[in-house]
């Protein structure tokens, strides 16, 4: 047996709940046993559009939180932005509808073996996987601070229950409509220093991940970034989702963000080369 996708299963999952929260939809899917293998940072790939759909590819969403109850069995929660036709279709489905899913996929966030001071940074719906991560980190004795950012307040996803596990939560919006006005990186150096941060976890737009990497590298702080590249398959067979990543010797390879990520070592990703002609490597 292969070691790739080894926890993944393909099941028909029922939509248990679908609720609008600001600019997003919180969607809860009953996925059964699969939930036991879902770790923060993993994602789910969902078939969209129904039987006679012209959309041939799955859509990938980060798993926000998981739970197991007697009534619904294992469930996963997603935070979905209605973006194009597939995500809009998903957001328009009502409770009871079945969708075919493959999960868990991708590499999860690495958890420190010893308790550490962790800073979690989320941009837009990028905060989704961070609350589940915060729970795990806290249960391992870590101190967890969090920074969330978005263009405006409706795009900040920060549920009440989620805040339980975080020591502090700072919010930035570009238009100042919630929290402070600015970006997640605005006070990053200070916060890292003040709070003695040892590891940064981030999830959000590529430009944000890149900016965080620069600061983290400067400060010498570890940084695990969950990247988001266009994915056709989500399971490693198509080579569309690649990113240039350096290995120990500095050699660059195009790694698949679906199976070698989405969580990657921020300092290894060649952010400047993303989307560039590979001849320049």
């Amino acid at each position: 047996m292969s070691t790739i996708n080894k926890a993944a299963t393909q099941v028909d999952a029922t939509i248990i709940a679908n609720k609008r929260i600001g600019a997003y939809h919180q969607i809860i899917l009953s996925v059964g046993e699969a939930v036991r293998h879902c770790r923060p940072g993993n994602f789910i790939a969902i078939q969209v559009g129904g039987d006679s759909s012209r959309m041939v590819l799955r859509r990938a969403f980060a798993i926000s939180r998981t739970s197991e109850t007697a009534q619904f069995g294992g469930t996963v929660e997603l935070i979905v932005a209605p973006h194009g036709s597939g995500s809009r279709w998903l957001c328009a489905q009502s409770e009871g509808v079945e969708v075919n899913v493959v999960t868990p996929l991708g590499k999860a966030f690495g958890i420190p073996v010893e308790p550490a001071n962790a800073l979690l940074i989320g941009g837009g719906y990028g905060s989704a996987p961070l609350f589940g991560l915060a729970d795990v980190l806290k249960s391992r004795g870590c101190k967890v601070d969090m920074i969330l950012g978005a263009s405006n307040g409706s795009k900040i996803y920060a549920p009440m229950e989620g805040k339980r596990s975080v020591n502090s939560l700072k919010i930035f919006t570009e238009d100042g409509s919630m929290g402070e006005s600015g970006r997640v990186t605005s006070q990053l150096s200070q916060i890292v220093a003040e709070r003695d941060i040892e590891i940064i976890y981030s999830c959000g737009p590529m430009a944000m991940l890149k900016a965080i990497t620069e600061i983290a590298d400067q400060l010498g702080v570890m940084h695990q970034a969950s990247v988001e590249e266009s994915m056709a398959c989500g399971i490693g067979i198509c080579m569309t989702c690649v990113l240039p990543v350096k290995d120990e010797d500095g050699a660059i390879s195009m790694l698949r963000s679906c199976i070698d990520g989405p969580v990657m070592d921020g300092s290894k990703v060649c952010w400047d080369l993303v989307g560039k002609s590979t001849e320049s490597f």
Binding site: M1, S2, T3, I4, N5, K6, A8, Q10, Q47, R54, M55, V56, L57, R58, N100, V102, E229, S230, A232, C233, I235, G236, I237, C238, M239, T240, C241, V242, L243, P244, I252, S253, M254, I259, V274, G275, K276, S277, T278, E279, F281
Partner: protein, 310 residues
Amino acid sequence: MSTPLDLSTTLGNAWFPSPLFTASGCASSGKELAQFISLKDIGAVVTKSVMNKPRHGRPTPRMAETPSGMLNSIGLQGPGIDAFLANDVPWLLAQGSRVIVSIAGETVDEYSVLARKLRAVSGISAIEVNISCPNVESRGQVFATDCDTASRVIDGVRKVIGGEIPILAKLTPDVTNIVDIAKSVVDAGADGVALINTVLGMVINLDTMKPHLGGKTGGLSGPAIRPISVRAIYQVHEALPKLPILGMGGVSSGRDALELILAGASGISVGTASFGNPSAIASIQKELVTLLAQRGFTSFQQAVGYAHRS
């Protein structure tokens, strides 16, 4: 219950227990799919076209979804033949899977070099020669768009391989007359043809107002192109009824597979459908058995090219 339907097929002198294969470039080297389907229970794994040297491929974005299809522009990213033969082929053979190795080159010579390296390896069922890629010696013109370069590639590979392993030439549909190309590769020694590779296409991104793909153009695949693949297979089977055809292009269900088979395909590769559904090949295989039985066929072979019979 009646006797089970005989699903086996042959391409040249290679035998396969089932006519359902992965499509090159749509299964990587097999490992990634093993969690979802049993690789030894399908016909064969056709591996991603491998070149002589490791290769980074084209810049991202590499894909765009289109109505009932997708465009890709991977640019043959891969580890190079040496690493491939060292790591991937032994793993596949250890699974009990049949392996068809797809090779691609930038020059006529590169194909011969690849063939030489393959000749040394045992256990490979067939070689798919992907000539639907750009020839750097001829202003990037695709090998398979010209009878002459197409046959020079096949001739080179044939000479190296000898008669042992069947050679399938993989053709592009982006030509004026695909039958002419098929005839020329057969004359050059191909045992069969693989039809069809992707159709050249483009998507413009309405935000940037520029071509969406990093490589500008890309290959169109998926159900959208199925009428084109059925037509190409029908035309080639009509002209060369004895020539084994590995059919592909837009197959995502048993009924789709049957269409290509009736048109003349002796085997079916499933590509894009596996992206949308990692267990697609296994479902298609199951559906095909039912459809063949419903139509009174007792073996897969009886259905091949049936649409031509009167």
